[in-house]
Amino acid sequence: MTDSPQDDLIVAAGADLPIEALKDTVPDTPPVSKWSAIWSQFRKHKGAMTGAFFLAIITLGVLLGPYLWTLDPQTLDIRAKDMRPIYTALWNAEAKTGWSHPLGTDQLGRDNLSQLIAGGRASMAVGWAAMLLSLLIGTAVGVMAGYFRKLDGPLMRLTDLFLSLPILPLLLVAVTLFRQPLRANFGPEGGMFVLIVAVVGITSWMPTARIVRGDILAIKEREFVLAARSIGTRSSLIIRRHLLPNVLSPIMVSATLGLATAIITESALSFLGVGFPSDFPTWGKMLADAVARMEDFPERVVLPGVAISLTVLGVNYLGDGLRDALDPRLRGR
């Protein structure tokens, strides 16, 4: 190969044009790496930065929390039940408060703060994992359907099928069929985690698949895909190198919505009584359990409610920013 006539390519003809007018403009900024460009674009998005900030705080909080606040969320202290958060002392001197439980305790005397931290770990883990799973399935199905014309019909009918699957019976089926092996492999909580993630993931990938399919159909017609084919790129690589990066932004948007939906679906499952073991806190379950005592102990609904909302909001704004930042065309401007 190397001793082909192309070697004299190097003998490039190319004295510079004397007139500046006909020279192409050269971008005056030095080339930057893709990721630093993304970062600098991302940094300019105020909402995204705030979102990322809150998300980081919450994530750090639930990750490091157990080391800072070492109370066990499952320990009952029935004498210290129904304590109010410390700040209620500001306006209500009689309220049962104490620094030992800064955010109060629940009706069995479990510490709210440590439950919030532990619940956050579970909710975030479920949210992220289910979101990733549904993204993975959704993207895969969407790409397949969009790229391979033959698969389009069957895969879209499959999407219809999954859209009409009722989530509750599905969960019950999954629990009976897989609980034992999962419990053996992942422990009681781990097994349930895998189950919930799987069920939420399996029942929520359809919108992503639809959107991705639509975009793939459009991008497939763009010339650079044809170009890739003409230089001998195999289908798998076309998908990986050329299609996927270009549908990243709708995927990001699905992801941000997906995280919210997953956290909320998990909480709805807890609300309906099919979910994690009862002594295993999640934000959704805390919220659902506390609704009955909402008037007397508003903090028990507000705290997990705010945590869920902040996370979802954070992720959404983060997604907005990422979408802008990941699009090199917007980035250039």
Binding site: G47, P166, T176, I264, I308, L313
Partner: protein, 345 residues
């Protein structure tokens, strides 16, 4: 267009059959037993007899076949009979009397035809869930339009924030919250929906309105949150198009440019999104219906599920699947109708 629609319609038959089969088998796999409610003191032999009376013992395929026959053969006959006998529209036709007392799909819980109960439930579901969808759409569209037109304005930012919050708060929280505020403290609205209420004059209409306010608000919040995002994105897409500049160059006022030219184009994808959301109305909003005791389809599905009323669950999910497939088709057809560029054949 017509051939497209007909073709898709015909193709959806095997799809639906397949879907129903999969759902049926899934439900068969699901644990639980219609005898769950029977007190523990009832001896097993009695339970076994009761089970047999329901036909639980039969092989799954036989059960599925029976269900198919009942849904696709017997029920339509009943329906046609009803049309020609009682309905306003076709009542003048001679009574067809096709239905000869064959077994219909019978709910295990209530021992009555599933379809009758479903029909009974549809009005309240439509009233509440349907209306909330309409309200949600009506609120979402202007918000989306204005947010896009004034992108990054205070209104846009606030709208984004509120819709996101709306999206992230589960209805089992907003529902009781509203009840505590508006029913318990303020006493404005009833906390329990009266499904027997008949609207026949202004006062009863007001009563109906008052009892619908809270569930409709809770549900509309969710709809608004999602739809206004779609609307905004779609408007933004179209505001940057060349034809907008052309319209402006003609000297049209901003109102016409935005509300006629841009809106009409932006509505195309949004309308299909709206259409795709419609099956969810019929599916009901399980949690909200439960919270306000609007005993609609969602509540029906939930109780049937927990009572392991297989025929009911099966039929409801199937209706749901049917609507999804149908509205998928409708969305496609709408797309074709709204966008003259699309031509199906």
């Amino acid at each position: 267009m017509l051939t497209f629609a007909v073709r898709r319609l015909v193709l959806s038959v095997p799809t639906l059959l397949f879907i129903s089969f999969v759902i049926f088998m899934l439900l068969q796999l699901a644990p639980g037993d219609p005898m769950a409610q029977v007190p523990l003191t009832v001896p097993p032999e009695v339970k076994q007899k009761m089970r047999e009376a329901l036909g639980v013992g039969e092989p799954a395929l036989v059960q599925y076949w029976k269900w198919l026959v009942q849904v696709f053969w017997t029920e339509p006959k009943v329906f046609i009979d009803w049309l020609t006998r009682d309905s306003f529209l076709l009542g003048w036709l001679p009574d067809t009397q096709l239905y000869q007392g064959e077994l219909r799909v019978i709910s295990w819980q209530t021992r009555s035809p599933v379809m009758d109960i479903v029909l009974q439930r549809i009005p309240q579901t439509l009233w509440v869930v349907g209306l909330s969808y309409v309200v949600g759409v009506l609120i979402a569209l202007p918000i989306g339009v204005y947010s896009a037109y004034r992108q990054y304005s205070v209104f846009d930012q606030a709208g984004t924030f509120v819709t996101m919050v709306g999206f992230s708060i589960p209805p089992f929280f907003t529902g009781p919250l509203l009840i505590v505020v508006f029913s318990v403290y303020l006493g404005w609205f009833p906390s329990i929906y009266d499904t027997t209420h008949v609207v026949n004059d202004w006062d009863s209409f007001m009563v109906q309105l008052r009892q619908m306010v809270m569930p409709v608000m809770v549900l509309a919040l969710q709809t608004t949150a999602q739809l206004s995002r779609y609307m905004r994105a779609s408007m933004l897409d179209n505001l940057g198009q060349d034809y907008v500049r052309t319209a402006r160059a003609k000297g049209l006022s901003e109102g016409i440019v935005v509300m006629v030219h841009v809106l009409r184009n932006s509505m195309i994808p949004v309308v299909t999104v709206i259409a795709l959301g419609v099956p969810a109305i019929f599916g009901g909003a399980i949690i909200t219906e439960n919270v306000f005791k609007v005993n609609g389809i969602g509540q029906l599905l939930l109780t049937a599920l927990f009572a392991n009323d297989l025929p009911m669950v099966m039929t409801l999910t199937f209706i749901f699947a049917f609507l999804i497939v149908l509205f998928n088709l409708i969305a496609d057809v709408l797309y074709g109708l709204l966008d003259p560029r699309i031509r199906y054949d």
